[in-house]
């Protein structure tokens, strides 16, 4: 027994992989708090953070505390949650659709949320109202996809993917129409900037909303770690092994949709994270969801926080994060595809 467990860990990437990923994530978080137009040295950063729980005398500039808690804090933590949510949504979608090429937009959640934000901007709604509309339309798009797929009972996966493509395409057409009628001086640039994806406008309320949605959905997805493993054997085999296939698939889809719609509502369309991170995760810790779920959360959040740190520190004017995730994600994905192709 002991021997088999050890072999299993060895095959899946080693028992120290997850602690090392956690250490890397913490290092990136510390770096993100330190780097920026107003640099904060590590000792001061630790003191500022500890001052909230320990009686430490404030020997730092008040601006440093404001930068850590008010400016960078919400942005970095929200970025970490969005990265975790997108990565986990991608992993879930790929597992339930038994296809490693699936991204979080497969059922139209991202397109629906983007359409919602564009509408909110067009109608001049407040930031909170726009975010809520975006989230709601993201969920509505997936709801519509599932409703259509319900009429294709013999090919459930194919039905969902094709319906998702159709709804996504429909939402993109609606988005084009909104852009067409938007005021070119004011609203259109806002929509365009939003669609690129950025954490620039993140607020404290977003942090709370993301923490609730991503937190709950992560716990739910982790609870389904074993059925998700079995589901990869195919619907018929999973069913014969005692897995309630429809219920597991629907629960995972709802959870992944909530996370990807929330991410898009808050930060716009940030591409590649939900596609590349699950691949990278499987490369490091293997396919087993008992390890790939926590690993994808750590890698996704660390990756997005790292890229966001680059986006706000590389140049004097901030580069929208969606551009950088594409610059990094696309070549990396090509590398992964070539690597896998050579191996098989």
């Amino acid at each position: 027994m002991r021997q088999l467990e050890d072999i299993s860990y060895k095959h899946e990437g080693g028992r120290w992989t997850l602690p090392l990923l956690l250490a890397a994530f913490i290092a990136i978080m510390v770096l993100a708090f330190m780097v920026g137009r107003y640099p904060v040295d590590p000792i001061t950063l630790v003191k500022i953070l500890l001052s909230k729980i320990l009686p430490i005398e404030a020997d730092w500039a008040p601006q440093a505390e404001s930068v850590v808690f008010r400016i960078r804090g919400p942005r970095i933590l929200t970025g970490a949650l969005i990265g975790a949510g997108l990565a986990l949504a991608g992993l879930s979608y790929q597992s339930v659709f038994q296809n490693p090429m699936v991204s979080p937009d497969v059922l139209g959640a991202t397109s629906g949320a983007a359409m919602g934000s564009a509408l909110g901007l067009l109608w001049g709604w407040s930031y909170t109202e726009t975010t809520i509309l975006s989230f709601a339309l993201g969920l509505a798009a997936v709801g519509l996809t599932l409703l259509i797929a319900h009429h294709v009972p013999s090919q459930p996966v194919l039905g969902m993917v094709l319906s998702g493509m159709m709804i996504g395409s429909l939402m993109n057409s609606c988005l084009s129409f909104v852009k067409l009628v938007a005021d070119t001086e004011d609203v259109l640039p806002q929509i365009t900037y939003y669609l690129i994806g950025s954490l620039n406008s993140v607020r404290e309320g977003d942090l709370l909303a993301c923490a609730i949605v991503v937190g709950l959905c992560s716990v739910l997805t982790y609870c389904l770690r074993w059925p998700l493993n079995v589901l990869s054997q195919g619907d018929e085999e999973a069913h014969s092994l005692g897995i309630p296939v429809k219920a597991i698939r629907l629960t995972s889809i709802i959870s992944a949709t909530l996370m990807s719609a929330m991410a898009t509502a808050v930060a716009g369309t940030i591409g590649w994270v939900g596609l590349v991170v699950p691949h990278l995760t499987r490369m490091i810790v293997g396919c087993d969801h008992r390890r790939s779920i926590p690993a994808s959360i750590l890698i996704g959040s660390g990756f997005l926080v790292f890229v966001d740190t680059l986006s706000r520190s590389l140049t004097t004017s901030e580069i929208p994060i969606g551009i950088l995730t594409s610059f990094i994600g696309a070549p990396f994905f090509i590398y992964l595809v070539i690597r896998e192709g050579r191996r098989t």
Partner: protein, 255 residues
């Protein structure tokens, strides 16, 4: 565990029946082979037994309990399915794949524990593939994969085993090993229902043979009863001669 298939009717399009009153029953601890031409309804019957399809008429029962009212978990505790081959989208280790066989005995939200690991280990040892535990399933040969699927079914701890053409993709030596494995499982008390096409293998390994034609049981019985040239010629609509060589059945086309 005995299985009874009672007057099953099924059609995919509502017009052409695939199963048209199929009935048979299996006894405990027996090796049963289902023979039939392509499209005879063998796979459809398996899907009905597994609860993937619903029969329009008739019922399948295990030890007198109707399978129609059972959920996937309850059914999986009674019936294990060994597909012809398995091509999962993501490749797991052999150990994890065999552990999947224990899914029906744990809660949906749990993952296998020590007891399940022991069952998986025993199943690997039973088929002498413990040395493959750390290998990825997609790196194995066809014969080894078949053993992994058998070990997964054994870990499932279900008394009834359904095999879908277990020998069709294997070389000759692995076909013999595979059939010997099934035979040894039935000696341990499992009941096996095997869908296959090779008459010679069926006659030499099975305890009971079910011939399915036009969606019905065309004939059923022991190899000695089924090993009849006229019966099999009529069944396949092709002249067949059945003979014996050193006590083993042989079959050949009769020209």
């Amino acid at each position: 565990m005995s299985l009874a298939v009672n007057d099953i009717h099924f059609s995919y399009d509502g017009r052409r029946p695939v199963l048209d009153g199929l009935s048979f029953s299996l006894e405990d601890g027996t090796f049963n082979v289902m023979l039939g031409r392509n499209g005879a309804g063998k796979t459809t019957l398996f899907r009905i037994i597994l609860g993937i399809l619903k029969a329009q008429e008739g019922c399948v029962s295990v030890n007198g309990a109707d399978l129609a009212g059972m959920g996937a978990r309850e059914r999986a505790r009674r019936i294990a399915y060994i597909p012809q081959e398995s091509h999962p989208s993501f490749s797991y280790s052999v150990l994890t794949t065999v552990l999947m066989g224990t899914s029906a005995s744990i809660s949906t939200l749990a993952s296998p524990g020590v007891a399940e690991m022991k069952r998986a280990q025993d199943a690997l040892e039973r088929f002498s593939i413990s040395h493959l535990a750390h290998r990825r399933v997609d790196s194995l040969s066809g014969g080894e994969r078949q053993l992994v699927l058998c070990a997964r079914a054994l870990a499932q701890d279900a008394p009834l085993l359904l095999f879908d053409e277990p020998t069709s993709k294997l070389d000759w030596a692995n076909q013999v090993h595979s059939l010997d494995n099934i035979k040894s499982l039935t000696s341990d008390g499992h009941t096996a229902l095997v869908a296959m096409h090779d008459i010679v293998q069926a006659l030499n390994w099975a305890d009971n043979i079910i011939l399915i034609k036009d969606g019905r049981t065309w004939a059923e019985g022991s190899p000695d009863k089924v090993a009849d040239s006229d019966l099999l010629s009529g069944f396949y609509s092709t002249p067949i001669k059945v003979g014996r060589l050193d006590g083993q059945y042989i079959c050949m086309p009769r020209h």
